[in-house]
Point group: C2
Chain length 369, copies 2
């Protein structure tokens, strides 16, 4: 049972394949769908944990399809998403003589996907990359759309490139090994797609008895979540590859989320948790400024609570620091922070001029309980 | 007196402006031709030598046109073309809060252009860059076509990205401060355009009384050299932005040239000198394998000699090492080195299967005098 979602980019169209057991067919899929030539070299980039689970299966499937397989293991965690880690991929690329027709396979979560994608974007000025996300967050977000990059010591994702994958292969079976906290964090992004794009997805999440762990989801709901989230991302990216306009709506909750992540040194919240907090903050802001109804904001808050995601900002986090940090965010346009405000369920609007004191009030609301 | 050469790229067309005194108009040109908005931030990247000569004029012209100007100075020399130097540009970009509408101005030779271009390609996943080449080599080659990048400790230009400039501004007056050795090295690339693309340029070079220093060229010949070289590069790039086919002809002499540069640790020959040697070697190879006439190869050798470019490879350089180094070059396709062979003056052919022993013989010919 495979579901294929096309990403319609005129320069480099590709497919998202959602396929239980798909890891074991990766070699064939790469030859057939990604226009890669068996005989070529493939560098599998992963962290040691993920590689222990899936490395052998992937390497075997690639070897069987005729590829020459090498691997490059990098330490796990957002704080290793640095140029230094990318340099290790470059060293492996050189050692294993990757050529322009060789490929990098990014096997893992968003951190690995971003770094392996950036290395592929910049090795020999660009070699093919196949994204094989093994976390729910990477499946529904990072693996699709070609954003790659690493963090600067003073800001997330400041260094990067657009580099579309040749193929995104999603094997839901890999989610069995996903830690619960990672699962919940991803649900924040799924809720985001509901708010910004897909009211039916939002309602399906509302109808689910629980959202806090994978095994409490029915297989049908999990598939719906994957397919609808990937489709939302693919549709938005297909209309705006380079974030000239529409694609900015995917940043709903992210601008404040990034600031919260950075100010807590990426140690308190993971990405999805921070995005959840950002969505709550922006939701409050949108209500205060008259863009969104209190009822919609409460429905969003209920879903976030149902996913057991954090819904309070640590009291020691100073809202003024958050606002200052927003200024350094790369979405800043001429000094103004651009916000994505929901205007309904499945509908949003970009707003440029948001008063700092309103932002501070919204943040403070999330500090008192 | 301005000559404008268009670069016809459907996604991002731009102009090469060859304009004596153009540095003093850079602000206006950037606003008018590069679609950059006065009021925005501009980071001028240069080395201290070039900045001492032209920094003030450029900063004044940008300020006068309404831009906010900052600078980032990097040490001069190919051996500083590293990720470490690029990180300094990132730090400056962060310190001066470059946004997506901000621009980087690459003021200098090819090293600065490549690094500043790569930083622009990868900061916030791509911000505008304006190339202002101040060396003849950068004017006729590196500044045009969007190739950016840095060296890996074990190979030249292995890390990089395609990132087209918004504008290339060539002010021939900056050549007055160019060291003689740099001038000669650039003439190697000019001769290359004659061999691969423009027989009239080749014949004009043959007709010149001298080619070894700038002041022995007539102003008319200098302009012809600039215009015809830039046009050749623009035409080739316009037909093949990403080096899928035709653009490979620009690498004539470069594959062996890169190997010679690398094996002499970038200390014996500069880029142009190494390319000159590469052209001589490939010329011999093309004659031996029956692609080129002895007469054409001698005409090329005469021009290289007239430019006082090196025409002998150091005896301690082992041809076998050169051949091994070719294997690590990024133009390698499935283990085969691709050569650009001249077939006349102004005409070339790509050849994939070249016997190693023939390469070694051609190199040895250049070692004995």
């Amino acid at each position: 049972m495979e579901t294929v979602i096309p990403v319609h980019l005129p320069q480099h169209p590709y497919q998202i394949s959602i396929c239980p057991g798909g890891l074991r067919q990766i070699g064939l899929l790469m030859a057939e769908r990604a226009a890669l030539t068996p005989g070529q070299r493939v560098l599998v980039v992963a962290n040691p944990n993920v590689f222990r689970y899936y490395g052998d299966a992937v390497a075997a499937a690639l070897t069987q399809a005729g590829f020459s397989v090498f691997d490059c293991l990098l330490p796990a965690g957002e704080r290793y998403k640095t140029l230094k880690s990318v340099q290790k991929i470059y060293d492996a690329a050189l050692a294993h003589r990757l050529e322009r027709g060789s490929a990098i396979v990014a096997l893992g979560g968003g951190v690995i996907g971003d770094m392996a994608g950036f290395a592929a974007a910049t090795w020999l000025r660009g070699i093919p990359v196949v994204q094989v996300p093994t976390s729910l967050l990477a499946m529904v977000d990072a693996a699709i759309g070609g954003k790659t990059g690493v963090n600067h010591p003073q800001g997330k994702n400041l260094i990067g490139a657009f580099h579309q994958p040749r193929l995104v292969l999603i094997d839901p079976e890999t989610l069995q090994t996903l830690p619960k906290r990672e699962f919940r964090a991803a649900i924040a992004e799924v809720i985001k797609y509901g708010v910004i794009w897909d009211v039916e997805l939002f309602e399906q999440l509302e109808a689910a008895p629980r959202l806090d762990q994978l095994r409490s989801l029915s297989p049908e709901l999990l598939l719906e979540i994957l397919v609808r989230s990937c489709r939302a991302k693919a549709e938005v990216v297909g209309k705006d590859e380079r974030e000239a306009g529409l694609r900015a709506i995917l940043n709903y909750g992210h601008t404040i989320g990034h600031a919260i992540e950075a100010l807590t040194h990426y140690r308190v919240f993971n990405h999805g948790e921070a995005v959840g907090l950002g969505m709550l903050a922006v939701g409050e802001l949108a209500v205060e400024l008259g863009y969104w109804s209190r009822e919609c904001a409460d429905r969003q808050a209920n879903l976030i609570q149902k996913a057991h995601l954090p819904n309070r900002i640590p009291p020691q986090l100073n809202p003024d620091q958050v606002i200052e940090s927003l200024q350094a965010d790369k979405k800043v346009q001429s000094g103004h922070v651009r916000f994505v405000f929901p205007t309904g369920i499945g509908a949003v609007k970009l707003v440029d001029q948001v008063p700092s004191d309103a932002i501070a009030r919204a943040l403070r609301k999330l500090q008192v309980s």
